[in-house]
């Protein structure tokens, strides 16, 4: 019954006016940051860090946490409306969400994303409170070998989420992997494919490539002759703002499944949260009676990944709260905020700082509530934005993207690179290559290579570790069967095609 006492204590801390205000500011800033293309959570939290100097530590962390999960809500908005994923986790949402928007169903897509996120956030918060400490073991059970196998599984997800040719999807993943190799090598520090450009020394930024192949490429494509017709159609087609009963019924199971998947994957500090949304999407596509709807505006394709990424955003706090080890860059900043206040988080942070830990957990629930209250009414405004004539919309998007990319590193070269990737994206569209697998390859590439090399260094070059470690073996088995499931029907249909052709 400790839990209830702890939670009650947490709510007592979180419900003080100042902390409520901090939570609200965090949620608002987070939404804003999520909506603006290119502006990342890392940059914003870094910028706001000095402000937290003057705040009490609990309030400061509640605000920073609010920005972190608030950005997950906001990120889906830009993905759905203008097909620009601001973070790796919203790439999947863009696939079906933007298709829904094109069919005039931006309202339901946005609303279901908010509802799914809210539900997932609530469940994940309870999970942190109840099982945070025991779940920590999972984070520690994942060594380099396990992460490598998880990443392999993640890449298979990318194949599954492609709607066209499997061969092209795999080629795109490998292209993404190659792009991710640019920059300095983790083990030797050698500069790889960077052509002595200092801005490339640390590799291509995710935002740079995503803005290019999604954002700029989409704009250029929309400016093509003959594209005006389609755009006008979209504006006429806008129907209801809120999801229908059928939408809600269709989305309930995906939201539940997405929440479970996201909660589990979010605990893994080395990139688990990134693949949560991909995993959820893949699961839905595999379970669906008619998988061909995916990629063409299926509401499940929005509900599941959005729930998964928000659940993962919450449970990724577990390693921080129980071990004191930040699992990602944003959390590292929060640790920075704590150290500035003289609290260095460690395994005993729960016992030593109950105010902080339980206050933060309680505030996450409150924050999620605030976010859904903020986001549902905003749906109307966002949808109205789609009625702005495209001739005014596209230069604005260009400017917002350019400022966003520039602000990540204050580097003009990044903006030029995003432009180059815009042309690459335009070329991809013209040849029917899909950008989503490319981005996934790019995100997972470094994680996969690093963990592979770590695992091999530790095992002294013995490749069998991936199969002798049970967790890793299970993950690889899942990956192999998933690949078979995806490739077999394609082969069969190819064969049928050959047969029918020869008959003619």
């Amino acid at each position: 019954m400790d839990i209830f006492a702890n939670l009650a204590h947490g709510f007592a801390v979180a419900l003080t006016p100042i902390n409520l205000l901090m939570c609200l500011i965090g949620a608002l800033v987070g939404t804003l940051v999520g909506v603006l293309p290119g502006i990342g959570t890392i940059a914003t939290v870094a910028m706001l860090l000095p402000i937290t100097f003057g705040l009490p530590p609990v309030g400061a962390l509640i605000m920073l946490a609010g920005i972190y999960y608030g950005a997950q809500y906001g990120g889906s908005t830009t993905s759905i409306l203008v097909n620009i994923p601001g973070e790796a986790t919203s790439v999947v949402t863009a696939i079906d969400g933007h298709q829904m928007a094109k069919q005039g169903r931006a309202g339901p897509a946005l609303a279901i994303a908010a509802i799914g996120s809210f539900f997932a956030g609530c469940v994940a918060t309870v999970l942190i409170a109840l099982l945070g400490a025991p779940l920590t073991k999972l984070a520690l059970a994942f060594g380099p070998a396990e992460y490598f196998s998880l990443m392999v599984l993640g890449l298979i997800f990318a194949v599954v989420l492609a709607k066209g040719s499997v061969l092209k999807a795999i080629a795109m993943i490998v292209f993404g992997l190659l792009l991710s190799m640019v920059g300095s090598d983790i083990e030797t520090g050698a500069s790889r494919m960077a052509f002595n450009i200092p801005e490339l020394a640390d590799g291509l930024g995710f935002a740079t490539v995503a803005m290019g192949v999604f954002g700029f490429a989409e704009i250029i494509r929309n400016l093509d002759h003959g594209a005006e017709m389609n755009r006008d159609l979209v504006q006429q087609k806008i129907t209801g703002l809120m999801p229908t009963k059928k939408d809600l019924l269709d989305s309930t199971p995906p939201i539940l499944r997405g929440t479970v998947l996201g909660s589990i994957l979010g605990i893994l500090p080395g990139g688990g949260a990134v693949i949560a949304s991909f995993a959820a999407y893949t699961l839905e596509k595999k379970l669906a009676k008619n998988p061909s709807r995916f990629g063409r505006g299926a509401i499940e394709g929005v509900a599941a990944p959005e729930s998964a990424n928000n659940a993962a955003a919450q449970t990724s706090f577990i390693p921080l709260l129980t071990l004191g080890i930040p699992p990602n860059a944003v959390m590292a900043l929060m640790v920075g905020a704590m150290t500035i206040h003289g609290i260095v988080p460690g395994p005993q942070v729960m016992q030593k700082q109950p105010d902080l830990v339980w206050g933060m957990i309680a505030s996450m629930w409150i924050g999620n509530l605030m976010l859904i209250i903020i986001n549902l009414p905003l749906v109307g405004i966002w949808v109205r934005l789609l009625r702005v004539p495209y001739r005014l919309m596209f230069p604005s998007i260009v400017i917002f993207c350019a400022i966003g990319i520039y602000s990540v590193n204050n580097a003009p070269v990044d903006v030029i690179l995003a432009g180059v990737f815009g042309l690459v994206g335009y070329w991809l569209i013209k040849h029917d290559f899909e950008p989503a697998p490319l981005l996934l390859g790019m995100v997972l590439g470094p994680l996969m290579e690093e963990n592979l090399r770590r695992a091999l260094l530790i095992s002294r070059g013995d490749w069998s570790v991936f199969l002798t470690r049970p967790l890793s073996a299970v993950l690889l088995a899942i990956a192999a069967s998933l690949l078979l499931l995806t490739v077999l029907p394609v082969l069969r249909s190819k064969r049928d095609q050959v047969f029918t052709e020869s008959e003619n």
Partner: protein, 326 residues
């Protein structure tokens, strides 16, 4: 409340910048506008925290805000290159550390700057002791046993580090060169993941800065063999120094210091040095830095001359250790 304050300050800033726009700066004494402090690492890291604590106080002394700009990349050398090329008017400074202003010289053969030739030293800010850490079930019980064990099993042990050029990498290379062994170094992407692997027992040992390690050591999730400073640290009174534990040659500190681009006027350097020194004498600053496990330099160590000597000595110290590694 705070939001309103933020809003008013924003308006004030807007007004101020508008004024600056309308009436070009008149001849005033330095500084007349806000100063940018480049920190070559991510916000929240040890260097960043030190820089923020010290500049927070310096801004009061100088009467202008100091904006921290975190520029990450290539072990801090991206940011340091940028700082070296910045205008030498005193409005762009850098908080460097042992990696960017010493170890980088042998580590990066194509380094676009030289710590001695392209920078004016301002002041040493803090030293962060380095510890020898190991997973909690690593067999050796103390440093002597550790040395014997690692030497005997150099083929088997794994040393974790937070990436090439990081403090943990560079300092473990020093340890290895003293012990004359070459164990496998397992690279991680930052101290967080490396510490995670150490806590989980996936790697055997690492050398790391005191900041991240103290809570883990106190909780018993990892163990510390020794601290590589001449004196014990108040936040870890039970951890012996390397000299006490039998490895006096291993001395390493991750120091943080403030630099300006070459050619900055001596008057500006002097006022910055005075402000930094004043900050280090401030009780709150002192307390915060000590909480981090930092060692605050004495008045004699804070002078620009002392920093210049330190940089010179550190480059000389790291070059033989790191040269063969790359």
């Amino acid at each position: 409340m705070t939001f309103i304050r933020a809003l008013t300050s924003a308006c004030a800033a807007a007004l101020a910048s508008l004024c600056a726009f309308v009436a070009p700066a008149e001849a005033q004494t330095y500084p007349t506008r806000s100063i940018t402090m480049i920190v070559p690492f991510a916000a929240g890291g040890p260097t960043d925290v030190v820089a923020r604590i010290v500049t927070g106080h310096m801004a009061q002394t100088l009467g202008q805000s100091i904006i921290i700009e975190n520029v990450v990349g290539a072990g801090g050398t991206t940011a340091t290159t940028r700082a070296a090329r910045a205008a030498n008017d005193g409005y762009a400074l850098i908080t460097g550390h042992m990696g960017t202003h010493a170890a980088s010289v042998p580590l990066y053969p194509k380094l676009a700057y030289h710590p001695e030739k392209d920078f004016e030293p301002i002041a040493l800010l803090a030293g962060t002791p380095i510890l020898i850490l190991a997973r909690k079930d690593f067999p050796p019980k103390d440093l002597k046993e550790f040395v014997a064990y690692v030497k005997a099993n150099a083929e088997k042990v794994n040393a974790a580090h937070a990436g090439v050029g990081s403090v943990s990498h560079v300092s473990c290379e020093l340890l290895h060169s003293i012990l004359d062994i070459k164990p496998v170094g397992v690279p991680f992407n930052g101290t967080g993941p490396a510490m995670n692997a150490l806590v989980a027992g996936q790697v055997d040992y690492m050398c790391d800065q005191i900041v991240n390690a103290v809570p883990q050591i106190n909780a018993g999730t990892i163990k510390a063999y020794a601290i590589a400073t001449p004196e014990r640290n108040p936040s870890l009174p039970n951890v012996p120094t390397t000299a006490e534990a039998g490895l006096p040659k291993f001395q390493a500190q991750a120091w943080n210091a403030m630099f300006a681009p070459k050619g900055t006027s001596p008057a500006i350097l002097a006022s910055l040095n005075a402000a930094a020194s004043k900050a280090l004498d401030d009780e709150t600053v002192k307390k915060r830095l000590l909480e981090l496990g930092s060692v605050i330099p004495g008045p004699a160590e804070r002078t620009p001359e002392a920093l210049a000597t330190l940089v010179k000595n550190e480059i000389a110290k790291w070059t033989p250790v790191l040269k063969p590694a790359t």
